[in-house]
Symmetry: C2
Subunit: 333 residues, 2 copies
DNA sequence: TTGTACGCGTTATCAT
DNA sequence: ATGATAACGCGTACAA
């Protein structure tokens, strides 16, 4: 027979709690808590009884209650624009490696460009759900300025304009300049650029690097959306230009893959008739036909650096990119 | 001057809580709670004062405390083997669409084959961190049998052997048989199969479907690891066989892409000299050269069905696949 | 319609 | 070395 309860005890009855362990082991909850926390002031014999009870019941501490009491969750949330883009995958791998080593676990939230959803996920930081936020979105959700200051937020791969946010990036302008220079040295004089979406920070940086090498005589970049379809469409537009380019520098690999397809459909051979240069070095870049020459961003290291900076509160270093030579580029004929 | 406190108030002081709203609005916390919950028994005028205070302070309810009190978090956790594989991305998109519509948010955990990590994430279910679990891993973490029974766990894309778990899948054996039949009708008589890893459930199902059509006379399948590299290696081994196949059915698109590359390197033309058939229809499948003929799994619908079944507690329907004809297959010459 | 009191499961302080 | 107790922030039965 149970006593009447004032407050409704919501659903999920029966889950074994610390109190149960205490009863079984014949000690108080405080002792159980201490034993589980590894306090040295718990007798070996008492500890043994507690551990036996834990094993017997399969007890695990309630992270929600613990989080409420401790005001921290040991969880990091990674916010990304779309999980469908494989570029982010390897960054997250790096994040997870470093986080796990530091005793944190990682959750991923995909926002799909939905500001509402982005804000909702970011709110987890306010409400104690997560201890830190890693932004791969290139945008800072509403009402996070104060947390950013407290070092609970860090941006990766893309700088966020107008914010003083610690950021893990390569020098995108230099990387774009290096790519364009590579094509120039191959002997190309008409090097076009398929850029990201207009207004995007990365787009601007890569356009700047390209423009620095090709000069003002070159035509304007063609803007895309970082997708394969948009790359193909952009390539088609370039091929219709009066003075067709002999080389194209693309702002990411997916657009380069789209460009490759459009070039093939137009009957051009790559690299004989047209050189194509990518950016990122996603896994698929090595498997296109021909394999893609591209700029590699050290994505795993992005993840490591992000966690290191987040947990230590130190500003992250700027990381180095690599030019990966494959077969989609050659001297013009 | 603050009163002395018995218990250490851990870190994060200052975050505005419901009590603050109550003070500003001149009401009690219970009224605030009711107002925020949309209870009809709160006067319009009182509600207005509360809402003003909320806007003024930017208050949001503490989800951790709320979760502890309510014993639910309105969060779903998706467990996947590796986030680097784009196949899972679109499933998650579907999960997110359906979950958001139902007022749930979605978190993703990538296990990277680490059983430890898998169990740690799954524990969130025990400890109230999440209300439901979606398994894309083809494996059930330890100590979840009871929850599975309570309908808090569902498997997607891959059945989990030995468990009575609601599962969202296509009929993989039928799909493999359909693919092989398609090649057979094209006129191929020597159809090889590049399979997934040995011991995998999906592998077995797809091998069975293929075998049913080719009969016992065909050689054994070549096993791979669902990666592009392993697909290339498998193709190389097939090309070394005395009676070289004229068509290859691959257990996923990534291995097909690897096979395509190996075929090209060997100087074969696809589809003239060799037909290649994929599985999944990932985004890249339409952008290979030639574009890949493949089986499409309705991944977005996988996500929708998973959430529907999870929240309603009803068994999910088996979903339909589609054969997508592209240019990597043709009649043998 | 609003306020009071209690409990969700845990940890830290204090006393023994 | 161990136990009693308060508090983390919130929701609800009950009293007013």
């Amino acid at each position: 027979m149970t006593l009447p309860r004032k407050t409704e005890p919501p659903a999920a009855a029966g889950r074994t709690k610390m109190e149960d362990i205490a009863r079984i082991a014949g000690v108080s909850v405080s002792t159980v808590s201490r034993a589980l926390a590894g306090s040295s002031k718990v007798t070996g014999e008492t500890r043994a009884r507690i551990e036996a009870a834990v094993r017997q019941t399969g007890y695990v501490v309630n992270q929600v209650a613990q989080g409420l009491r401790l005001q921290r969750s040991r969880q990091i949330l990674v916010l990304l624009p779309t999980i469908a883009n494989p570029f982010f995958g390897e960054i997250i791998l790096g994040v997870e490696e470093a986080a796990q080593a530091a005793g944190y676990s990682v959750l991923v939230g995909s926002t799909e460009g939905d500001l509402e959803r982005e804000a909702a996920l970011a709110r987890q930081l306010h409400t104690g759900g997560v201890d830190g936020l890693i932004l791969l979105t290139g945008r800072i959700p509403d009402g996070l300025a104060d947390h950013a200051a407290r070092g609970q937020v860090i941006a990766v791969s893309e700088t966020i304009p107008g914010q003083h946010l610690p950021t893990v990036v390569i020098d995108n302008e230099e990387a774009a300049a290096a790519a364009t220079t590579y094509l120039r040295r191959l002997g190309h004089h008409n090097i076009a650029h398929i850029a990201g979406p207009e207004g995007n920070v990365l787009t601007a940086q890569r356009v700047r690097g390209w423009r620095r090498i090709v000069g003002d005589a070159a035509g304007p970049p063609v803007f895309g959306a970082f997708t394969m379809d948009s790359g193909a469409a952009a390539m088609t537009r370039l091929l219709a230009r009066p003075n067709r380019p002999t080389a194209v520098f693309c702002a990411n690999d997916e657009m380069a893959i789209g460009a490759l397809k459009a070039a093939h459909l137009a009957g051009l051979r790559v690299p004989e008739d047209l050189s194509i240069f990518g950016f990122d070095d996603i896994t698929f870049a090595a498997f296109t036909d021909p394999p893609l020459t591209t700029i590699r961003q050290p994505r795993r290291e992005f993840g490591h650096a992000a966690i290191a900076a987040l947990l230590a509160g130190t500003p992250p270093p700027r990381l180095a990119f690599t030019l990966v030579e494959r077969a989609s580029t050659a001297a013009p004929r």
